[in-house]
Symmetry: C2
Subunit: 460 residues, 2 copies
């Protein structure tokens, strides 16, 4: 053990060893991260073995291994097989890090799949199989629209599960939904069409995607039937970004007359409908609704991704533009990055072909339905004043409270004080007090605990 460790070690141990036993892992992780970032533990310091540290803290060795693993993944530590774990040399020019808030005990942030469901072993097996079998030429520059076998498998999947009208030649494989939307926005800009209507309430892409793409957005109200198409028409927008099969975050479904009106708007004005099918797969109580694109493939640019079914870190999605937009969008994609990396595409193609993707969707759906049921039950039991909506599908619920509960930001703070993170409905432009609670990444126990904690905090 190096000398610089021994000094720092005590402080860490004092903080972590004082905590309740089950919180010690998290305390150790936070303290260690902060100590490395602040330079409190010098670069090059060798940390004690997981066995030693676990004994000192009175936790199992696995707890320490996991903490080290996460800090290695973040780049704060490096682990060398058989040579222990070391503190990395963090860049000296980097600005001093902000103080780190303790992670909440229960985080109801919406939009996260359960990353532990990622099929790691199957993916590794298929990766080996693909690397063993594929011809060398596949590793060369390929079609910028994506690996054809993947586009072929996806066409079959999307036609079967989402009713989408599709041809492998018309699919562009993208870096998640984000790149699909960015390409469409940049294409519109080249046409001088720079105004895009977004849903309100909604998850605005304004600053993060539309800004860099050089277009602007206008918020258009959503009611229980869908986007207000009269307001859209009056806005002079050139395109509308919509989530018609499960609106984010309200969970409403665009009703047939509104769908029809939206398509008429597109036909009459030459406007483009951009359909974000972000969680269309996860409908719990009936068969999934077909995508809007299924009824008007020439008016709708349809996009989706594996971010909810596999993991956001895969950055794998697809864009199916109307036929007339295919060529300019493919040229933009080619100019951007010459297409996506081929290995992940080949593995996903094999995953689809083997039927494993359907199994993965069934696994996610079963898991998330149980968690939704747990959340709904917990709210009914512990917070009967809450109104729960939008839970027929998707990975989150909208929970609104009577005005008597107080202001949203006070409720958020009260929840934070008991270790629970809740995202206010107001952040998406919704009228509260209310919250958008993501449940898909949380175990039943955690959901129960989180609701108990906020109910106690809000009801006292």
């Amino acid at each position: 053990m190096e000398s610089s460790w021994t000094t720092a070690a005590w402080e860490l141990l004092v903080t972590a060893a004082r905590s309740p036993r089950r919180a010690r892992g998290r305390m150790l992780e936070d303290a260690l991260r902060q100590a490395v970032r602040s330079g409190h533990i010098a670069a090059g310091t060798r940390l004690p073995s997981s066995r030693e540290l676990a004994a000192d803290l009175g936790v199992s060795r696995g707890v320490v291994t996991e903490v080290y693993g996460r800090l290695v993944a973040e780049g704060h530590l490096v682990g060398r097989q058989g040579a222990g774990t070391w503190v990395v040399d963090l860049p000296r020019q980097a600005p001093p890090p902000a103080p780190i808030a303790a992670a909440p005990l229960v985080d109801f942030k919406p939009g996260s799949p359960d990353l532990s469901l990622f099929p790691r072993a199957a993916w590794a097996n298929l990766c080996r199989k693909v690397l063993t079998e594929m011809p060398h030429a596949v590793l060369d520059y390929g079609d910028s629209r994506g690996f054809l076998p993947l586009r072929t498998e996806l066409a079959a999947l999307l036609s079967r599960r989402r009713g989408v009208v599709v041809d492998p030649e018309r699919i562009i494989i993208c870096g998640g939904f984000a790149q699909a939307l960015s390409l469409v926005a940049r294409f519109l800009r080249t046409q001088g069409k720079t105004l895009i209507g977004e849903e309100l309430p909604g998850d605005s892409k304004g600053c993060s995607i539309f800004g860099p793409a050089g277009v602007s957005s206008v918020s258009i109200a959503v009611d229980e039937n869908g986007m207000d198409v009269d307001a859209l028409a009056a806005s002079g927008c050139h395109a509308a970004l919509v989530t018609p099969t499960h609106q984010f975050p309200t969970g409403i479904v665009y009703q047939p007359p509104r769908r029809k009106q939206l398509l008429e708007w597109a036909r009459d004005t030459g406007g483009l409908i951009i359909e974000d099918d972000y969680d269309g797969e996860f409908r719990y109580d009936r068969a999934p609704l077909a995508a809007l694109q299924s009824t008007a493939p020439d008016l709708v640019a349809y996009a989706g991704s594996v971010s909810k079914s596999l993991a956001p870190g895969m950055r794998l999605g697809w864009l199916l533009p109307p036929a007339r937009l295919l060529e300019p969008l493919a040229a933009l994609k080619h100019g951007d990055d010459r297409g996506r990396p081929v290995l992940d595409q080949a593995v996903l193609a094999a995953f689809l072909r083997s039927g494993r993707y359907d199994r993965q969707l069934r696994l996610c759906q079963r898991t998330y339905r149980e968690r939704r049921d747990t959340l709904v039950r917990a709210l009914a039991d512990q917070l009967p004043e809450a109104r729960v909506t939008g839970v027929a599908a998707g990975l989150h619920a909208v929970v609104t409270l009577p005005a008597s509960f107080g202001a949203e930001d006070e409720l958020v703070r009260a929840a934070a004080d008991v270790g629970v993170n809740v995202v206010p409905f107001g952040r998406y432009g919704g009228t509260g007090p209310g919250f958008v609670l993501g449940f898909s990444h949380l175990s039943a126990t955690t959901i129960d605990k989180g609701i108990s904690l906020v109910a106690a905090a809000w009801l006292t």
Copy 2:
């Protein structure tokens, strides 16, 4: 065997069985691809087993397996384990394909690494290791600039091997060099700086990258000392895209006075130097030259990729912009695609950390040096009139011929007639007659054969 096969089978066999035995695999592949694309063999047709077809054609079974494998990879066929090989249902709306030219026997196209050197087994092993060990959170949305452990390893590599001044916080992981350049061009455009100087001769990015990014380019002459900086200054360009350590395609190295003049241009005019370090690793006769960025990190946006050292299909590269450009470029990257896929990044980080990447570079360098030597020797023996330049580094040679040999396009046609593809120097704006010959992807035997064939064609 299905009935639709038996009819089509004969025609394929007639074409392929008539060819010389060693060309039968290629003939079969071309004929089969064309038959599937044209609908000559119907979708859903089951092909004969590789054993049957090999026997019919008098070739080894491996030849047929390889042909089937390539057509499966291209999406023309599907193979199901134990269930044979089938013709896929190609989209009916697709335009009729252009007639397929037979692939050349020897293809001297420049810029291709030997894809058979890709470390498939090591990559599959590390992929499994990464998937086994990484914390779940790594699969979530990450830093759009890239996976920090990879940026940390790359910083060490680039500083050590290329002399680059680097800080992991300043690296942006990109989709190959293409995305790095596209981001820089799009950033310049937001500043109203829309004119970029490119090298002549050079590999113009004008139509494919600059067009979609909304900027224009001007060709600036390159002489034996580097880009003509007086001409660059007179052009009013806002940026210059250069390959200073091994100019593409001439192979000249920017000389110190010219480097100095270029840096002064940038300092005086606020112009940006974009350094494409496309094959800086592969210098054969002396130690690699440090990148231009090493002397002026605040004037140069440096970019490189694994396209030459691993494979273009990885779409993995890096951009090191001057500090003042980091934030706007990172915002553009975030708006584009929220960062690159994490698995490849984690595997490459592990590959670098283990020392395997250095071994890979040594393997490539040794292989490519031998092939360069073979090419130079073959030319000296068979085509002593040829002048060979630019071979101190890189994956290609510039070969010029006396004017008495005739016009470049006639020489290209004469080579094509004997089955050899050569890319004329004129395609890159060079003065011929001459050719840019890529050698890195060809075996010594193939190089010898190719040069013998063109020498015979050109000297008669």
